[in-house]
Symmetry: C2
């Protein structure tokens, strides 16, 4: 095949494959319907389980799973408060800040895209 492939950086097909896998790594960690939304919400500060559930509009069962995943990837911390009844606070880790560029880019794109769609619809 014609190897005029041009990925993110000029590269061989091999490197293209690697780039693809790298992208998929990212999607494995923060892909899906909720993870980035939750992280985005937590950027506003720590929240309790229930608050988070309400903010995101996500059921407890799914939220619980998502938070476990995020915790496993060192993106959020889970802290049990010694109250009565107990409450649990979730907070972003310093490591989660590495996602900032991505989130900002996605947010910017969504905004831009919405405006484009509106233009198209109106015209």
């Amino acid at each position: 095949m014609a190897t005029k492939t041009h990925c993110l950086t000029p590269a061989t097909n091999q490197e293209c494959k690697v780039a693809q896998l790298t992208l998929q790594d990212t999607l494995d960690v923060v892909g899906g319907k909720w993870k980035l939304v939750l992280i985005s919400i937590l950027r506003g500060g720590k929240l309790k389980f229930r608050e988070l559930s309400r903010e995101a509009g996500i059921s407890p069962r799914v939220l619980s799973k998502e938070l476990k995943d995020l915790e496993m990837h060192d993106l959020v911390t889970r802290t049990v408060q010694d109250t009565r009844p107990i409450t649990v606070e979730y907070e972003l880790t310093p490591y989660s800040e590495t996602l900032s560029d991505m989130i900002i880019a996605m947010h910017a794109w969504g905004k831009q895209h919405r405006e484009k769609v509106i233009h198209k619809t109106v015209s």
Copy 2:
């Protein structure tokens, strides 16, 4: 407000909600398992349906659906070639370039994250 795009400091709940919806808009368009991978692959140049299927490791049925979605959002073009048998080429639109920042950020994060995980595992 132009400086801080996120609700870190004193932002209203309203603005947080809007930010969340904007992020979800993006996820609606390019979220899921395949869309960004396909776009990433097509950055290497136009490809025929089968080539794309092989490159991504995606079944024809799913690929067909994904491409329709992408085409609908003006991210790829579908061009029928007058060959025998006919072939169809898929190519990124100029508009798809607006996703560059996002894809680059995601790629960079995946790379960085993999290295971090390796460190953790080794240590």
